[in-house]
């Protein structure tokens, strides 16, 4: 029997070949794939568990920031890293750092992915690859925080606020808020003379300084 040669396959009046031909090229993304992205993210602190994700979407369904920040979607962030789609990740750089660290995603993940830490690792990746023109507010905050811990052993919340506004060039706002600072001092909630210091701390200070320097960068 001769084999029928036809550029099209019609079953029950539906032409299939053309549909499939159109369909397949879009399904397979090969161009942007770059597994360096996945490898790099997994070596960053908190990124280790990324590969266990099975894309169920539980994390995004309950994510705190999802309703507040357009396009904030931890499941998708993971997918994009695995696809190696650097352009898309970069396009979401102003969303990703806004994770509130609420831990709902990690709490509920059925695969024991530490999703919140993975999102943190993706943020660190963006920072490392120099995507942010200036440090994100979260980065500035973390740096001030670790400076205080390294130098004094403890945090003074009110002082953190002051330094943050100064470092992010918002001194005007600080002045506006000085009213609140006064109120706090009167109520005795703000330490006046930097009392939040640990006595036996020199050794720890040296160790922390060394660790931070070795981890690279100021923070």
């Amino acid at each position: 029997m001769a084999v029928a040669q036809s550029p099209t396959v019609v079953v029950d009046g539906v032409e299939l070949t053309g549909e499939w031909m159109n369909f397949l090229p879009f399904r397979v993304e090969t161009d942007p794939f770059d597994d360096a992205l996945l490898k790099e993210t997994m070596t960053l602190p908190g990124g280790e568990s990324l590969a266990k994700c099975w894309q169920c979407g539980t994390c995004s369904a309950g994510c705190t920031m999802n309703p507040y920040v357009d396009g904030f979607n931890p499941r998708q962030f993971i997918d994009l890293v695995r696809l190696g789609d650097w352009e898309e990740i970069r396009a979401k750089s102003d969303q990703i750092w806004r994770c509130a660290s609420c831990q709902k995603c990690t709490h509920r993940c059925p695969k024991e992915v530490n999703t919140a830490d993975v999102v943190g690792a993706i943020t660190a990746l963006l920072e490392r690859r120099g995507v942010y023109a200036k440090p994100t507010n979260a980065e500035v905050f973390a740096e001030i925080f670790m400076d205080q811990v390294t130098n004094h052993g403890r945090i003074e919340e009110a002082k953190m606020g002051q330094e943050f506004y100064l470092k992010t060039g918002r001194a005007g706002e600080l002045a506006k808020r000085a009213g609140m600072g006064m109120q706090m001092m009167l109520k005795g909630q703000m330490k006046l003379f930097g009392g939040a210091k640990v006595k036996h701390w020199k050794g720890m200070q040296e160790v922390l300084k060394r660790r931070r320097a070795a981890a690279g960068g100021a923070h």
């Binding site: 709490h107 919340e157 036996h200 070795a214």
Partner: protein
């Protein structure tokens, strides 16, 4: 009365914005015959920032405090009233138990810093969990002098008391709270006579972590918590977290000017309510340190 001593880790916040939580926690504990003995020369737990800077430092900082509690007080566990410290330290102890080489690495650094070594065993408990397990509703009931009768309360647990369960062990057994709908505060306050109102916001995020970093969204998250509490018909919201307290209460004027009356909701710490029920004065529980009108609301209900 025999006084039991507990190794107390207040964390940085209870020396700052959370001062009223600190005062009322100590008062409440004393009324139950417990002294919250602060760990001498304790230091910051590292919060969520340390792990950004350097992974090992995020274990080192908690380990120093655990080692001090063991050395000076022979304590196998320390108690903290702060959700943030609770998360950070439980994360550290869980990971160190899973990976014993971490303990070696941490002890190497502690040794270089001239600090005592961590035994890899001692652990951390939240003050609320401690109160519920070691004292519980019956002990509370027995100490009540002025029941919180007629006071409608919503209990607000925030994020890091139960989450994530891989660290908090929430839901593991009866000694740990429910991972999605915690109730330990509810039960203690009910024992003190309060009417605990059901609501959906119990473990919502207040946005406090990004109070400075992403202020706009952070304020929206806080407003959502207060709004839900108001819609539930509560007289006051009460919390077990100093970071939530700072976000909701210390920022109250900011929130009010931006969102108006829809967020009007006095914020308290659960230890303030328990302390009042145990016969404490407004001053004993630091009520004057709240910004959101807690004194007035409690007066209206005859609780102070």
């Amino acid at each position: 009365m025999a006084v039991a001593k507990v190794a107390y880790f207040p964390g940085c916040s209870l020396e700052g914005f959370g001062k009223s939580y600190d005062e009322s926690a100590k008062f409440t504990a004393r009324a139950l015959g417990v002294e919250l003995a602060t760990i001498d020369d304790y230091s910051c737990c590292g919060a969520i920032e340390a792990k950004r800077a350097d992974e090992l430092s995020s274990y080192l900082l908690p380990a120093r405090n655990l080692a001090l509690a063991k050395k000076h007080m022979n304590a196998d566990s320390l108690v903290t009233p702060c959700n943030g410290c609770h998360y950070t330290m439980r994360r550290a102890t869980t990971e160190m138990k899973k990976r014993p080489t971490l303990v070696e690495d941490v002890n190497q650094l502690l040794g270089e810093a001239g600090e005592p070594a961590y035994d890899g065993k001692s652990d951390v408990r939240h003050f609320l969990e401690y109160l519920f397990n070691e004292h519980g509703p019956d002990a509370v009931k027995a100490k009540v002098k002025r029941p919180l009768k007629g006071l409608k309360v919503v209990t607000y647990y925030g994020c890091l008391y139960v989450r994530p369960k891989i660290y908090s062990a929430a839901g593991k057994d009866a000694r740990h709270d429910n991972p999605e709908y915690p109730v330990f505060m509810d039960e203690l306050l009910r024992a003190a006579g309060a009417e605990v109102v059901e609501w959906d916001g119990k473990t919502d995020c207040c946005g406090g972590g990004h109070a400075l970093g992403d202020e706009d969204n952070s304020l929206k998250l806080s407003a959502s918590v207060l709004e839900q509490a108001r819609q539930a018909g509560a007289d006051v919201l009460t919390t077990n977290c100093p970071l939530c307290g700072a976000a909701l209460d210390v920022r109250y004027n900011d929130l009010k000017s931006r969102f108006g009356d829809s967020i009007q909701m006095p914020v308290t710490y659960f230890t303030q309510l328990l302390g009042l029920a145990f016969g404490g004065s407004a001053k004993d529980v630091g009520l004057g340190l709240q910004y959101s009108g807690a004194s007035e609301a409690l007066k209206k209900r005859g609780v102070v």
